[in-house]
């Protein structure tokens, strides 16, 4: 009962702020709404007993990625009064397409019989996640580290001021 209530609250937060991301005309406000979406999803993870995932969601997305987005947006846009100005045609088109896509996907997702997974009753220990990362998922882990190394060099190159 309490869990269902919490679920609906968090889901509502996620959805409403997701709509806010799209509907807002000011790009900084969009980013702030995105914060609500990411936070709502993190709360859903908490509800599902995936504490570590929730914390990572907050640290990586809300605390890392999104702040960079906000940072970039603030450095590039001039003032709070610069807004998107989509034409009516664009809005109508976007709404129609997204409604179609959303209904299609929802029908598919709801209509499908999903194989039952094993429900997590207790939160998996962080240690178990770590062990998984270094055994079953060792290769992706290492591949990601090579990727990050290369990308870091590239980013540093692009960001470096020209002498």
């Amino acid at each position: 009962m309490l869990e269902a209530l919490a679920f609906y609250i968090f889901a509502a937060v996620t959805l409403v702020s997701a709509i806010g991301v799209v509907a807002s005309r000011n790009i900084v406000r969009s980013a702030v709404c995105l914060l609500g979406t990411l936070g709502g999803v993190a709360c859903l993870y908490f509800l599902l007993n995936a504490n570590l995932l929730a914390a990572i969601q907050l640290i990586v997305y809300a605390g890392g990625t999104l702040i960079l987005i906000v940072f970039g947006v603030m450095l590039t846009s001039k003032s709070p009064w610069v807004v998107f100005d989509p034409t009516r045609g664009q809005v109508v088109g976007a709404v129609i397409v997204s409604i179609l896509l959303a209904t299609g996907l929802c029908m598919l997702l709801v209509g499908n019989e999903w194989p039952a997974g094993t429900a997590m009753t207790a939160s998996p220990h962080v240690k178990d996640v770590g062990t998984m990362l270094l055994t079953d998922y060792l290769v992706p882990f290492e591949a990601a580290s090579v990727l990050l190394l290369v990308v870091m060099i590239g980013a540093a190159y692009l960001a470096r001021p020209e002498k």
Binding site: L108, T131, P140, A143, L147, V150, I153
Partner: protein
């Protein structure tokens, strides 16, 4: 002091033999680190960086060649027994990594030649060589990963690690506005497609509770393919289609080819497509590896065929109006991706006596890939040399090229007619294999599309040839580095030879590779003549 963390179960470690089989991947990853460390030791030295990249490429190619021909044991693994294999290094991946690393060496050579031939931003190039080669080898590493995995998670990671360095490479000329624009378009497009791709992978995971393509395939075989599976599969394949620049995920291609410096354009036109096609082949093959799942995959394969046809046609039609050679070759490469995708679309076709036989579709792709590599290298090489000499990449720089530099003219003409697929050249013979394979698979409509497209493409390729020989120009002769002329001449010779004397050799080589691949990817007797029961698949 016993420690809480060490008290856990002993960690799994891959065996040394397993690690050794991953040689090509180690070698590429090691090259990245070596370039960086060398920069730490000797400072910003472009020669050292380039030499290390070349050495790494040669070494990787050697390892792969041994993997291809040495009858290496097909290897699927690097994960604990219970888990799905994360990396698959077999003859198939060795072949593609071989192509990629050979191309890496060749493009590095092109980069060095450009320095001496006087590219405009020469000083900046020398200074930033270390970053350039790190990104360059990094993207090669990502492409190598793409062709050596059969796991959804690894595929996504691999596509990302091929793409992200490429974004940097596309925008490497920081002062060049078109390069920045190209890079931005590339990033935006790549980000959207990879988001869709990850979404598709999540749908697949939700349905099958596994990330392993083999297991997904057996599940598809036993349950049939639902609409949701189809949607998931398509969404997932979009990420790969982006790498091969299949229509409608090709929009980045012309802009990036135009904006990036010419070595990068060459690199992306071949390596990115080779890796993407390799991955596509493996995905389609693994997903249809049981008889039942092959039946179920028919619809997906048909969709790929339609996409191939559209890709071809759109590529060729768009090339009509282009005057920038790099842009024109971009559309040409889209069209060629379409031809190769046609072969991918028939890989599902069950062939009962498949055990020791080559699959015509994969031999066609391999032969096509080899010749395509040569054609593109030579064509871009000529464009590069004309650019270094005249500073232009547009069609009018080619006016009278046949008289201003006869050798380059001949080479370019050979490449162009081979790209069209005219008889005595390599392009013809590989296209012929492709059509035969399509005919075997009784996709007659696709043959018509392919032939129609060949006719279309004749127009714009011939337009360049016309400009080279029949348009008068009183511009100075094109001066090109001797090494470069020699290299493109070799490529042209190889194209001619592969179309004439060595056509049989090309055929038998690619058949052999295809047979190896087939043996390698043959998942423990699943696709034998008698149909396996659903139980035996789990």
């Amino acid at each position: 002091m016993t420690h809480a963390l060490l008290a856990a179960t002993p960690l799994w470690m891959p065996s040394a033999a397993d690690l050794q089989r991953l040689g090509p991947l180690w070698s590429l990853a090691g090259t990245i680190v070596a370039v960086l460390f060398a920069a730490l030791l000797v400072g910003r030295n472009y020669r050292v960086a380039g030499a290390i990249a070349t050495l790494g490429g040669v070494f990787t190619a050697t390892l792969c060649w041994r993997g291809i021909t040495g009858g290496a044991v097909p290897f699927a693994g690097l994960a604990p027994e219970a888990a799905a294999p994360m990396l698959v290094v077999d003859q198939f991946s060795c072949f593609f990594i071989f192509l990629i690393s050979v191309f890496l060496v060749l493009v590095t050579g092109m980069w060095f030649m450009g320095l001496d031939a006087g590219v405009p931003d020469e000083a900046a190039r020398r200074r930033d060589a270390v970053e350039f080669f790190v990104l360059f080898v990094g993207s090669a590493f990502g492409m190598a990963l793409m062709v050596s995995t059969s796991n959804l998670l690894m595929i996504i990671l691999a596509v990302e690690s091929a793409s992200l360095p490429s974004y940097g490479l596309a925008g490497f000329r920081k002062k060049h506005r078109p390069a920045a624009e190209a890079s931005l378009k590339y990033i935006l497009f790549g980000a959207v497609t990879s988001a869709i791709s990850v979404y598709g992978a999540s749908l697949l995971y939700g349905q099958f509770h596994t990330l392993d393509l083999m297991k997904i395939s057996t599940a598809i075989g036993s349950q049939g393919i639902s609409v949701l599976t189809g949607v998931g599969l398509f969404a997932f394949l979009i990420g790969v289609a982006f790498k091969v620049s299949a229509v409608p995920f090709h929009f980045w291609c012309p802009d990036v080819f135009e904006g990036a410096s010419i070595e990068i354009t060459t690199w992306l036109s071949v390596a990115s497509k080779a890796a993407g096609l390799g991955l596509m082949l493996r995905i389609m093959w693994l997903l249809s590896c049981t008889v039942q799942s092959a039946d179920a995959m028919r619809w997906v394969a048909h969709a790929v065929a339609i996409m191939a046809a559209i890709t071809c046609t759109v590529g060729n039609f768009s090339a009509f109006r282009q005057t920038n050679l790099k842009r024109l070759l971009a559309f040409s490469s889209i069209a060629h991706a379409g031809y190769m995708l046609m072969a991918v679309s028939i890989i599902w076709q069950p062939r009962e006596s498949a055990a020791g036989m080559p699959h015509p579709a994969s031999s066609a792709v391999i032969a096509y890939m080899i010749v395509y590599l040569l054609m593109n290298l030579a064509a871009f090489g000529v464009v590069a040399m004309v650019y270094w000499s005249t500073g232009r990449e547009t069609m009018d720089a080619f006016n009278g090229l046949g008289w201003r530099n006869p050798l380059l003219g001949v080479v370019m003409a050979t490449c162009l007619f081979s790209l069209v697929g005219l008889p005595p050249l390599g392009g013809f013979i590989t296209k012929y294999y492709l059509l035969i394979a399509l005919y075997d698979a009784s996709l007659i409509w696709l043959i018509f599309v392919a032939v129609f497209n060949t006719l279309l493409s004749l127009y714009y390729y011939a337009r360049i040839a016309y400009a080279m020989y029949f348009v008068q120009s009183d511009e100075a002769p094109v001066r090109a580095p001797a090494m470069g002329q020699f290299a493109v001449l070799m490529c042209a010779a190889a194209i001619v030879l592969s179309g004439t004397f060595y056509a049989g050799k090309l055929k038998s080589f690619s058949d052999q590779r295809s047979r190896d691949m087939y043996g390698a990817m043959q998942p423990t007797g699943l696709r034998v003549a008698e149909r396996p029961t659903a139980d035996s698949m789990h």
